[in-house]
Amino acid sequence: MKKRSLLFPLLIIVTGFIFISRLFFLQIIKHDSNDISLNSSTIKRIYTYPERGFVFDRNGQLMVANEQTYDVKVIPNEVKPFDTLEFCKLLKIDKDYLEHKLARAKNYSRWLPSVFLSQLSKEDYAYLQEKIYKYKGFSIQRKSLRNYPHKSSSNILGYINEVNEYLAQQNPYYEQGELVGTQGIEKEYEHLLRGTKGVKYKLRNRLNKVIGPYKDGIFDTISKPGEDLTLTIDLELQKYGELLMNNKRGGIVAIEPNTGEILALVTAPNYDPNLMVGRKKSKNSVILFNDSINKPMIDRGLQAAYAPGSPFKLIQGLIGLQEKVITPETGFYCHHGYKYASGKHNFMGCHCDIVGRPIDLRLGIAKSCNSYFANVYKRLIEKYPTPQESVTKWADHLHSFGLGNYLGYDLPSGRKGNIPTSDYYDKVYPRKTWKFPTIISNAIGQGEVVTTPIQLANMIAAIANRGYFYTPHILKKVNDKNIDIEKFTTKRQTTIDKENFAPVIDGMHDVYKSGTAKHVQIKELDMCGKTGTVQNYIRKNGVKYELEDHSIFVAFAPKDNPKIALAIFVENGGYGSMIAAPIASLMIEKYLLGTHKLKYWENRIINTSLEKEYNKQLSIQSLEVAKK
């Protein structure tokens, strides 16, 4: 009997031990202290969103503002019977809409608010606000939308998207469905523009219904408004550039040389920034992003990588002087071209038409003589014992101008371009058989050299400064205080000595005085420039189709103490002197003088449409599609 009495007490004690071990496991081993924190699922965070910062141009013109709109929200379980007729009249909706929306909201959640009607007009809001108390379960939520008073600069300003799941996971600040700048300065300066959201912690029950503040609100924070930004952009110049680029493709980049401030950053074709706002945004963005013909979402000023063409000769000359393979007086002869190797086809043509007399650097630039720069490049590449060493040296000079890599400006898109190094050629020619004739196209800015318009503009700024530049940037002031960002206030010295610039700049000056841009010179200004014409073609089905050349122009003005440096690139614009050069002059005149002396050219450029040329390309491209 006694033995049997032991079983039950034993069971009781064992049970006690099992329970305590299980509790130990649950509450001490598996206990996650984060679980009791503000991340607990029982705590609802209610955010107050500050107003996003405004954006102004360098002269204080408003570029981006906010517009208040109002959404009507509904929590289905809190809806009490109401006068549907009056309600529909108030919101200007019909009964079908009401029923449909209510059903959808119920479907989503009976306890959570869902949008019933989005973006009420201000007048409708005013009426509704007085009567909303009658409609239990309905509420009005203010929403701030971006508003652009000018239909300009969409590439600079960018746009705002809703935070997606991925970003919400990456960045704990954001929650899905919030707004975040995704392009342009909205993205780059998101942290300044957005401000800091405020948060209230509310306790909620398992039906997600809020039952009161969490710990009497000791963790709650208030929101901090976004900062207002002033850009370096001159809105008038920017709009003018956009006007000039009408019906063309390409980009204009204008930089203030002695600060690195970007004065204008034009891309064409462009779009109205108001398209990427509000209710119609999703529809428009599909259209804009899918436009693979015009590619309006690509900022050609930053992202289009082209061969630089003749403007590249400027820097070739500078490197020649710096490497002491030429002096300003060194002369070369041109025989309508340059024969760089034996054989009939190894001949690079030239249109300078200076035959029978030596051409020096200044004249070479003014007349854009291919032979001259082929000779310079030959000397550069053959200066050191191996072409590898020479190319390395040559590329180092180019890198010091910010070419071949990201410039470091404060906009989120860009391309590296390409400055071929000896490694690059060793990879292409693994047996290292490459020599000067292999890479001769580089001499005149074709071949493997690729730059973006902003790199080119920056290069011109460095030339205008005679040897240094500041990293181009677009932010000027934050809340009316000038920015002090070391990256943008540090002089970046190039590898070219100051005295070597004079003959090159003189050559650029001659381009306006007597060269390819003579027809668009402005008498009051000492302008310096260089045209470029880049051949291009596309291959389809093994057939090479010649296309109209890209038209390039680089310029700065005035010659002494320069105020503006720019690079213009017009796709398939033909000779540099015919489209890009007038645009440069018009931009310079607009910015420095504000006059309209080149009225003829202004009208002509604005009315020039290259659509026909682009359509031709399209038809060539579609050949293949048709075959398929």
Partner: protein
């Protein structure tokens, strides 16, 4: 009479009284935490559950005092009638009962509901004590086995039919009492083996279990064949028939589980056995309850500070899942203390029961301990995720007047019997 009453007061087991009051008091604090809200937090708000519970507790104490003043011989004399009365109450539910949450378990008088299930336990233990009190009683004769079986089967069936199978399971706990009082341990062993095989079949699959049984059988037969124990030599037909019964059982468990059980039954077992990770639907209660307890940590979040409790994340948190409130707000030390209190409480009843001079009191005390043990075991094991969801209350903690009164009566009848053990032999 006067002197005897004084003596009784001295003989009352104050340890049990203290534990009872401590558990009831702490229980009420947790009901308050789980059922109060921002709108309802006045302590004497009788519309709220914690307010009603105050009334139940007050009346419960009155009942307990009343019980202490009843002659202890009354229970023995009237045990059978009390049993019958509670059985009639159970049976009457099928005519007068009120259906709440799908079970016809309540009599409803105005706003007041009474759950006779909670009182049937007292009646049954009294009846068992009365039956086993007979000096000639032994479990040997089949007649006695059947009598005992009938006493516990009637309430079990009536309760199952409500349907409230969780509460019916409580009557299984008397097997411990019967073992103590001389029932053959074979029944206990067979029962435990059956449960173990059942679980093993579900967890490992019947093929492995059958394989395992065959391997073990082979070893046993080989052992016998080597002839170490001659006496066992002629036992092999017996062994083989046992093995075939086991194999049949295992296969029928498999068959029952997969082809006879409904999906919801399977789900409960699957979640319990860790065979399914579904936390959204069927396992929601258990998942929320474990998470809530786990979030308490060592020290807990503090009384009324449990955000999951205050957010009412755990369903039925003031009734069956009340222990999760303790786990969250009082942490490991608090919930451990509650477990220790319960263990001490039950052990104390067992120890006192063993000291009883009369069989009636001993059997009654032991039966009371069995009921408390079963409730605590099933309820806490369910809330901490060791058992499947079986809805029975945690004594003194779960909200509800009937259950509080039922447990109070169970306990105080025993305290009275214990207090008079020296006077009324």
């Amino acid at each position: 009479m006067r002197s005897q009453r004084n003596n009784i007061k001295l003989e009352i087991d104050w340890i049990l009284i203290f534990l009872y009051l401590a558990l009831v008091g702490f229980g009420w604090m947790n009901i308050y935490s789980a059922s109060s809200s921002a709108d309802h937090n006045e302590i004497f708000d009788f519309a709220a559950r914690y307010g009603k519970q105050i009334i139940w507790i007050g009346l419960g104490i009155l009942i307990s005092v009343f019980l202490l003043f009843i002659e202890s011989s009354f229970y023995e004399k009237f045990a059978a009638y009390i049993y019958l009365a509670t059985m009639f109450l159970l049976a009457g539910l099928f005519i007068f009962g009120k259906n709440i949450n799908g079970a016809t378990s309540w009599y409803s008088i105005g706003s007041f509901s009474l759950q006779p299930t909670e009182f049937a336990k007292t009646g049954t233990v009294l009846a068992l004590a009365r039956l086993l009190n007979d000096r000639q009683f032994s479990f040997k004769p089949l007649k006695n086995k059947i009598k005992t079986f009938i006493i516990i089967t009637i309430p079990a069936i009536l309760i199952t039919l409500q349907p409230d199978p969780g509460s019916a399971l409580v009557y299984l706990s008397f097997i411990l009492l019967f073992y103590r009082e001389g029932l053959s341990p074979n029944i206990l062993i067979v029962g435990i083996t059956a449960v173990a095989l059942f679980l093993a079949t579900l967890v490992f699959g019947y093929i492995y279990v059958i394989g395992g049984v065959l391997v073990v059988t082979t070893f046993i037969l080989w052992y016998i064949a080597k002839g170490r124990k001659k006496s066992l030599r002629f036992e092999w037909p017996k062994i083989l028939s046992i093995v075939s019964i086991i194999l049949g059982y295992v296969y029928s468990v498999y068959y029952l589980f997969n082809y006879v059980f409904k999906q919801r039954h399977r789900d409960r077992f699957n979640i319990l056995l860790g065979l399914s990770d579904d936390t959204s639907d069927i396992g929601y209660n258990t998942y929320q309850s474990i998470k809530t307890i786990s979030s308490g940590g060592f020290w807990g979040k503090g009384y009324l500070q449990g955000d999951r409790t205050q957010g009412k994340f755990v369903p039925e948190q003031d009734t069956d899942y009340i222990f999760s409130t303790i786990g969250e707000e009082w942490g490991f030390w608090g919930s451990m203390l509650v477990v220790v209190f319960f263990i001490t409480f039950i052990l104390r009843i067992v120890v006192l029961a063993e000291k009883q001079k009369s069989t009636f009191s001993r059997v009654y005390g032991y039966g009371v301990a069995c009921i408390f043990f079963f409730h605590v075991l099933i309820n806490i094991a369910m809330v901490i995720g060791l058992f499947p969801t079986i809805g029975i209350p945690l004594p003194f903690f779960s909200y509800g007047g009937s259950s509080l009164w039922g447990f109070t009566m169970l306990l105080f009848i025993f305290i009275k019997l214990d207090a008079s053990k020296n006077y009324e032999l």
